[in-house]
Amino acid sequence: MSIDPITLEVLTQGLISIVREMRATVCRTASSVAIYDAKDFSCGLFAPDSQVVAQSEDIGSHVVPLPWSVRSAMEKLGHDLKPGDVILSNDPYTGGTHLNDVTVIFPVFQDGRLIFFPAVRAHWADVGGMVPGSMSGKATEIYQEGVRIPPIKIQEGGRFNEAALDLLLSNMRVPEERLGDLQASLASCRVAEKRIHELCRRYGVDLLLEAVRLDLDRSEARMRACIAGLPDGTYRFEDYLETYMGGRFEPLLLPLALTVAGDRMTADFTGASPQVPFPVNSTAAVTAASVFIAVKSIFDPAAPLNQGSFRPIEVNAPPGSIVNVQRPAPAGSHGEIRKRVIATMVGALSQVVPDRVAGDLCRTSFHNLIGGLDAKRGREWVHYEWSAGGNGAFRESDGPSAMATIDWGDLVTVQSSEVIETRMPLVVETSRLATDSGGAGTTRGGLSMQRSMRVLAADSRYSLLSDGAVVPAFGVLGGLSGVPVGSWIENGGVIQGFDTPGKIAGHPVGNGDVVVVRSAGGGGYGDPLLRDPARVADDVREGYVSREAAHDLYGVALDARGAADPVATEALRRRQRAARFGLAAVLVEDAYEAGAVSRRRICRIHPRDAAAAGLEADDVVEMDARLAAPLRAWLRIDPAVAPGTLPIDALGLAILKVDAGARLEVRRVATVVPPQARFAEAAE
């Protein structure tokens, strides 16, 4: 069957328009505020082989993993689907994200033939479990996170499976609202069914399916052309997620081997940390989707999103690891794995196409909760704060400050102070970008958002479920790290930090205490000593960079009027470049140290070198040749290491794009935010 390019375009747009109408229908009819207000849902059209055919303005974190749920549903129920059947599922272990994301899959038939699945994934406000809202940082098993729904037929022949529905709703809070959410997804799919039938009547089902085939094929061709432009090879990177095992910090290793072969790409996460009994793990679907989001964002952001783009990409996530969680480990916090998978992709691709990547994004979803019982109004209150951090810098531009990252669609992340104060017993005392929080570089990483909120209620509590509080966003090509996320409590000039940065559960907050939260900064791009001194002076004038940082990190000497002094700057930069601390790389077999569950990279240096560089044991450091992204490690001081040398394994050398003998810079990564450092000093 032949199809002309005009009809192909019209049908492609027609299918995207159907998804838009699905979105509008969900917005109009859902019951959960998170769905119609925060737009925490996604729609898509799928082919019977579970390939996504059309999407619109949906949140990448949701929509890109959807095909896995469709595939699981088809494997289980595909042999026996009839018109009027509807599938329901939320099971992370079979293609889901977390239990709150409930998916309706709706088979559409034409002339007795299954042609499409419209599907809606929506965040239900509650699916049962140990806490209202179902997501808890304290969950150690999935059973605490709500009801697991494997793919089941919730409707058969157009009639509800009353037993199943009754059972499910009986295990959720506010069941009438959940029924409303389910009805909204069904209404949305029915609209899609009607529109699909209209397209079939007008153009014929065969022409429509042929258009779909061609549309997927041309997206695939476009992506293959992108990948074919990359040199063949395997590119590696490694990064960490953060947890505390029995109160002790434990970084969880996430290694990536990204292989480019011709016009295909394979992302292999073999060696990832085993899954842990905390909500850090995520599913294979989320992992693969995150690889796709990274590839799309780096290579082809403008193309319409369909499965064709992802066909040339394979993902290997070992079962039982943090990137492919298995029963019964919890899966509630999928945002952290997503952001870290994207970071490893950026790190690996920085070795191949440094011009196309950016410094690391702001690292985490940064879920802050402040709440308690408002005695004056006699009700519970919870303020949920998720200010975005800085994005990474890239060749052409500084990174955007406090802006949603590439996996978050167009989500609003900065809430109105006036609205917060209207609803909560809180006063937002300051809401500002944090000076010097963006990673220094030839282009600068975006700044983080810092908010101080005074609590005007007794017996409140503060919780934080976050990552990136110890290991911050990295820069590339010699760009420096952004600041890690941080939070602390202030009252009357006394600053109180936390023993487990990033993971805080129900810390008591007194009436009048100020909770300060700071999101992460974005990574820098390129050597800060190469930044145009006039732009550094601009940044100082605008308050993005302090005078001290301009001097210490950028080597820029400012005159009394705040302009860069060219002669003094040149001299200062020459001195700073000469003073950079470096060691000669020596090849060793093993560069890791085992922890309770995972392992971490170690940077072992001689005591004299440590003293010269001002480094201490257990510091988080980065080793860097300024040719790609740097490599993070924990410092060990070891008299057995030859002075002036840095033992490193072959993998580490490959990541840094150097051979043994090369000189590697070693620098400390700022792992704690300054107020906590001040607090620590005061305590001593």
């Binding site: 747009q13 009819t29 859902a30 207000d37 590439i406 167009d410 109105s416 104060e421 101080s452």
Partner: protein, 677 residues
């Protein structure tokens, strides 16, 4: 005595003159003069040759405010704000404008951070003073601004909607130090909560104000020099007009000046022609504006934007897409065919303008297919080169293996699908069936595509109004004076009495009365409508609920809210209901010109016939009759295919459609039975 409507666009200045004595309407198009729009206006007025004393009223649609904001060449602006909150405008809402793009650049703020100054002061949610205003601090900031050569200042404090005192006192101090600067406060521009949106609206107002002041000064001067004393009013974004001096003080009200006038004209003409339910489609060179009008009422929104900046002023809900006559067709890697959003703009313009444009546009496709003729000058100015259009279309067709005719039809098809998409967004996406509406196209290019857009949506009727090329200028003459007033005070309905609600509305009514009195409207010509923005507690958006200004039953209010909620979202919840903001719309009713009935003399199908031209429909070239709209007889039906031409526009009547001129000059196109796609 005459009334004059003047709508200034990027390329042309459109004038419509209503001669009250004869009831006659005269139209004129003249080139715009972007360096100073008033020059083009006076040139047009001179060509109309109605002596200075003949003008009784001038209503003006202007793009000065919008262009100043979009082109970023407004005033040297500073913001003075509450200590701790200098970054409200710099950060915005932390959302991403470019999905999936790892290289999304930072948003460019309207004011650099270094010109956002903090002052010690603080109000609570209820407007109570938590920290007294530091007047010495304001004066110190004022002196810095003076040194910095600041031309405009936006004073934006938290919770000022609840208590404007700190802002007012600060503005007085700053005005004394900076006598030549425009000083605007957020409470006077938009006393509504959500600081980013309020600050943004206020900052935009201050940013464009000095330029607007200069422009209106120049226009008044030119009018006075020409001896014209007629009062001047300006079209505002809510579809009403205001005296020019009001808009000079509050230019942010005029961001949608021109497009709003078109919608007013459409609702007026649609109703007069017996089509109170219309979807408007204003197709210009680079974009197309659509708006839904039901029962003569257009929908309103407070979600407007100018570029990346929110404008929370209540305005007509117009949906704009980047596809118009000048939109360029191109093929991207992988064979994706696109039309727009890239545009050939006025320069070089479409290939057929012969100014060096080589890529085919929608206008070129119309010309290549014979839908557009070469006999008339576009806008009385530009001669069209059909060979250049054909060559551009043929080049693109060769890239993807299509004949020039198929390519040209394809370009139009894709443009039509995206325009239909814009209409779906304001109709089907809101649960409204566009087939219950007539399509009302205007703008020079609207009537060319209208029937095809209607086909795409299953709509059966197209109403092409008289003077489609000058339609917005006509709308200026049929608009009432209108001012929308708002104030936020968040409270649960359960915590309020009907007297509380009436008191809030009374304050706004008083302001509305004063506004209308200053525009010389006697009480019998004043109209008011009240509405409340309401929601369930916990939600972060509101629905507008119309209420009586003398409301006395809050239980009925909750029921009314629930009805609006069910209509929009299907069900209700058990959460308490809150009132967030109070609104009054105040109208001063103007006299309006009626469309005069057409005279029958000299009108007949024979006299309208201009011959035939080869035109392509569905891949087939055939001779198609060309008719002169000015000579068409009233009430007789022309069967498609046909092209009906007039100065400034052409209407395509495709095969399967027919056209009838009604008694007030609307060309009503109807699709025949059984031809539904």
């Amino acid at each position: 005595m005459h009334w004059l409507g003047v709508d200034v666009g990027g390329t042309f200045t459109d004038l419509v003159l209503f001669e009250r004595a004869s009831g006659r309407l005269r139209v004129l198009k003249t080139p715009s003069t972007p360096h100073d729009q008033s020059e083009g206006i006076l040139a047009g007025v001179a060509r109309l040759a109605v002596g200075p004393a003949g003008l009784e009223r001038i209503v003006h649609g202007t793009t000065v405010a919008t262009n100043t904001a979009l082109e970023g060449d407004g005033a040297r602006l500073a913001v003075v704000t509450t200590a701790g909150h200098r970054d409200v405008l710099v950060v915005g809402r932390g959302n991403r404008m470019a999905m999936y793009n790892i290289k999304a650049p930072p948003n460019r703020p309207l004011v650099p951070r270094s010109r956002c100054h903090e002052v010690r002061e603080r109000l609570g949610v209820d407007g109570a003073v938590a920290i007294e205003l530091d007047e010495a601090g304001v004066a110190a900031v004022g002196r810095r601004l003076a040194e910095d050569g600041i031309e405009a200042v936006a004073v934006c404090y938290l919770h000022s909607y609840a208590n404007p005192d700190h802002e007012r006192r600060s503005a007085a101090i700053l005005s004394a130090i900076l006598p030549d600067a425009v000083v605007t406060t957020s409470a006077e521009v938009l006393p509504e909560y959500r600081e980013y949106e309020r600050f943004s609206t206020t900052a935009l107002n201050a940013y464009v104000a000095p330029r607007m002041r200069r422009y209106l000064g120049e226009l008044r001067h030119r009018l006075a020099t020409a001896g014209i004393r007629a009062p001047l009013s300006i079209m505002t974004s809510n579809g009403g007009t205001l005296p020019a001096d009001r808009v000079e003080a509050m230019p942010v009200l005029s961001m949608l000046s021109g497009p709003a006038a078109g919608v007013i004209a459409a609702s007026h003409v649609g109703a007069a022609a017996g089509f109170p339910d219309v979807i408007t489609c204003d197709m210009g060179g680079t974009s197309t504006d659509v708006c839904l009008v039901r029962g003569g009422e257009f929908s309103m929104t407070t979600e407007g934007r100018v570029g990346a900046f929110p404008v929370k002023i209540r305005q007509i809900d117009i949906n704009t897409i980047g596809a118009g006559g000048g939109s360029i067709a191109a093929v991207a890697t992988g064979g994706f065919l696109t039309v727009g959003p890239r545009s050939a703009k006025a320069f070089p313009g479409p290939a057929c303008f012969g100014r060096g444009g080589l890529e085919p546009t929608v206008t070129d496709a119309n010309l290549a297919l014979g839908r557009l003729g070469t006999d008339r000058l576009l806008g009385g100015e530009i001669r069209l080169d059909r060979e250049a259009a054909l060559a551009a279309v043929a080049r693109l067709g060769a890239e993807i293996g299509l004949s020039p005719e198929r390519m040209a039809e394809g370009i139009l098809r894709i443009a039509v699908v995206s325009m239909a998409g814009a209409i779906k967004e304001v109709s089907v996406m809101r649960g409204i069936d566009p087939r219950d509406f007539a399509l009302l196209p205007y703008g020079g290019a609207g009537p060319l595509q209208a029937a095809a857009i209607a086909d795409e949506l299953g709509m059966r009727t197209v109403v092409v109004p008289p003077m489609p090329g000058n339609f917005s200028a006509f709308g200026l003459l049929v608009a009432d004076v209108r001012r929308d007033l708002v104030r936020t005070r968040v409270a649960a309905v359960d915590d309020l009495s009907a007297a509380d609600v009436r008191a809030m509305l009374a304050g706004l009514l008083e302001a509305g009365e004063a506004e209308l009195a200053s525009a010389d409207f006697p009480p019998e010509r004043r109209r008011f409508a009240a509405s409340l923005d309401m929601r369930y507690a916990g939600q972060s958006f509101e629905l507008s609920v119309p209420v009586a200004t003398d409301i006395d039953d809050l239980a009925a209010l909750v029921t009314a809210f629930e009805a609006v909620y069910v209509a929009r979202y299907g069900g209700t919840t058990t959460a308490p209901v809150e009132i967030v903001s109070y609104r009054i719309a105040a109208w001063g009713l103007s006299d309006k010109p009626a469309l005069p009935p057409l005279e029958g003399e000299g009108r007949s199908l024979a006299s309208a016939a201009l011959g035939t031209r080869p035109v392509v429909f569905d891949g087939e070239t055939r001779p198609v009759p060309i008719l002169d709209r000015e000579r068409l007889p009233v009430g007789e039906t022309v069967a498609g295919p046909a092209i009906i031409e007039e100065d400034g526009s052409s209407t395509v009547v495709p095969p399967g459609w027919s056209a009838t001129l009604d008694r007030i000059g609307c060309l009503v196109l109807r699709r025949g039975e059984g031809d539904a796609p």
